[in-house]
Amino acid sequence: MTLFLRTWLCLVAGFIFLPIFVSMLFSFNEARFPTLPLTGFTTGWYEAIFSDPDFWRSAKNSLIVSTTTAVIATFLGFCTAYTDYRYSFRGKSLFLAIILLPPTIPLIIIALAMLAWFSRVGMSGQVVSIIAAHTVLTAPFAMAIIRLRLSQIDESLEAAAWNLGASEWRAMREVILPFCKPAILSSLFLTAAVSFDEFTVSWFVSGLNKTLPVHVLEIVQGTIDPQVNAIGTLVFGVSITLVVISQALIFFRLQKAST
C-alpha cells in the first residue's frame, strides 16, 4: 500500500513539476525551438532578458506589488484573526465567511469585477490597483495562518500581561505580536509568493504597468521565444523560495509546540 502511495505521489509530483523542469532545462538550451535533442548550453537567454528594459520594469513592478501586498494583507489578516480570537459579537460567523470569501470566487470573475470597479473610480492600470486587487486575494490566507497560531495561545496569556501592568496596547506589543511572530513572518512570505505569481487578476487590472507573469504572456502571445523559459525559471525560483520559507516557519513552530 505504501509503495502504491509513493508511486502515486511521485506521479502527481512529476505531473506538476515536469513542465516547470522542462522550461528550466530549455532556458539553458541554445536552440530557439524547444525540441529534443538539446543542442548546447547557453546563458544567452538570461543575458537577453537582463538587457531588456521591459523585463526590469515588470520585475520592479512585481517586486513593489508583492512586498506591499504582503505587508498590507498580513496586517489586515492579523487584525481580523485577532478580532476573531478576542471578541464575540452578533453576526461574527457571517463576518468571517465574508472575510474568507475571495479565494472561493473564480479568479476571472474577481478580475473582471476589479477591472470594472477600478475604471469606474478612475484607478485602472496603476500599480496601486494591482496591489489593492492582490490584497483582496491574499488577505484571507494571511488571516488563516495567523488565526491558526492564535488558536494555540493560552487564553490567560494576554490577561497575565495586563495583570503584570501592561495596558492593552502594551500587551499587544509585548505578548500577542511576539507570540504570533512565526505566523506573521510565514504570512508575509506566503502572500508575497501568491502575489508574485498571480497572473489573471494582474493581467486585467495592470494596464501598462505589467508584472512579470503578464510580461511573460505578452512575449508568448507574439512569438516563440526561449526568454520566456528564463523568466519563468526566475519567477518560479522566487515563488518556491518564499513558499518554502513560509511553510518551514509554520512547520517548525508546530513541531516545537507538539513536543
Binding site: 493560552d154 490567560s156 496569556l157 497575565a160 500581561a161 495586563w162 495583570n163 503584570l164 492593552e168 507570540f179
Partner: protein, 355 residues
Amino acid sequence: MTEPLVSLDKVEKRFDDFVAVREANLEIGAGEFIAIMGPSGCGKTTTLRMLAGLDAPTSGEIRIAGKLMNEVAAHERDTPMVWQSLALFPFLNARENVEFGLKMRGIDSDEREKRAMNWLDRMEIAEFAERNVETLSGGQRQRVALARALVTEPKLLLLDEPLSALDAHLVIRMQGVLTKLQKELGITFVYVTHSQSEAFAMADRVVIMSKGEIAQVGTPREVYRAPRTRFVAEFVGRNNILPGSVTSSDADQVTVETGLGTFSVPGVATIGTKASIVVAGDMMQVGRGENSVDATVISEEFVGSIVTAFLEAADGTELKVQVQERALADLDLQPGSKVTLHWATQDGHLLLEET
C-alpha cells in the same frame, strides 16, 4: 482586625442572566492567608478575577487598602496573580518572564535583571534563568510563575489553583514553599482552590462558596468542626449528618428527633425548628455510648494511616467512621458486619436549617 487590606461589600457579578457571585461580603486583613474554596462554578475564580480587575463587579464595592477599585483597570492595579495554567510567556526565558512586570513599570534593564535574578535565586531556580520556560519541569515553571508575580513586591498575591497541574508529591512540597513564603513576606495571599486539603493545610481562614454565595468564612478548624450550613458540612470532609427537628430545649443543650432516634446536642434552638446533628467522622466511635446507632458496614476507604468506613443505618442514612488503620483489626469493620456506633454529646454539632 484593624483596617482590612481587601474588602468586598455586597459584591455581585452577573454574566447576562447567570449570577456568578451574589452579595459577597468579605474582609481580608493584611498578611492573611485566605483560601477561597468550593466546587467548580461556585464563583471562587470570578471573585479572584474581580480582585485582579479582570472582571468588573456588576454592583457592590471592592476596596483594596481603602481605595475603591471598581473602576481601576487591571494593569493599573498591583495585584499579581499566579494562574492555573501558569500563563508563562513561551517566547521569553525564565529571567525575562520574571522581569516582565518590572519592564511594564519602566524599570531599567540592569535593575530589572538584578531583581529578577534575586527572586529566581530565592526560588532556587537561578541556574535555569536563561532557559526557555517550555523546557522546564512543572515544579520549576511553578517557581518561575511565583517569582514573576512577586518580583514587584505586591501587598496582595492572588493564586488561582496554581498547584492543580502538579503531581501529588510536588503539591505537598509547593504547599510548604508557599506557606513559608507568605510568612516571610508578610503579604496577603488569596488562594482559590477546590481542594480542601490544600486550603486547610495553608490558610489562616477559609471562605467556602456555593452557587455564587459565600456559605461560611472561618478558620479551617471552625469550618471543619462547626459548619454553618448543610452544604459546608457535606463539602468539608467526612461528616455524618442526621436531619430531624428539635423536640426539647435546655439552657445550652437541645434534643433532636432524627430518623435514627432522638439525640442530645449542645446548642440553642426553639422547639419545632428543623435542625440536623453533625458528627465528624473522626468523632464517631465503634461501641455503645451516650448516643448510639446501629449500622451495617458497606465499604472501606484506605488513605494511609486513616481508614474511613462507610456504613448504612436501618433507615438508609449513610454514616462514616474514621479510625486508625492499626486499630482496624480489633473493631471488626468487615463489609456486611453489623456494629453499633456512638458519639459523645459534646462532639455533636447542631446545624439549624437555613430558612
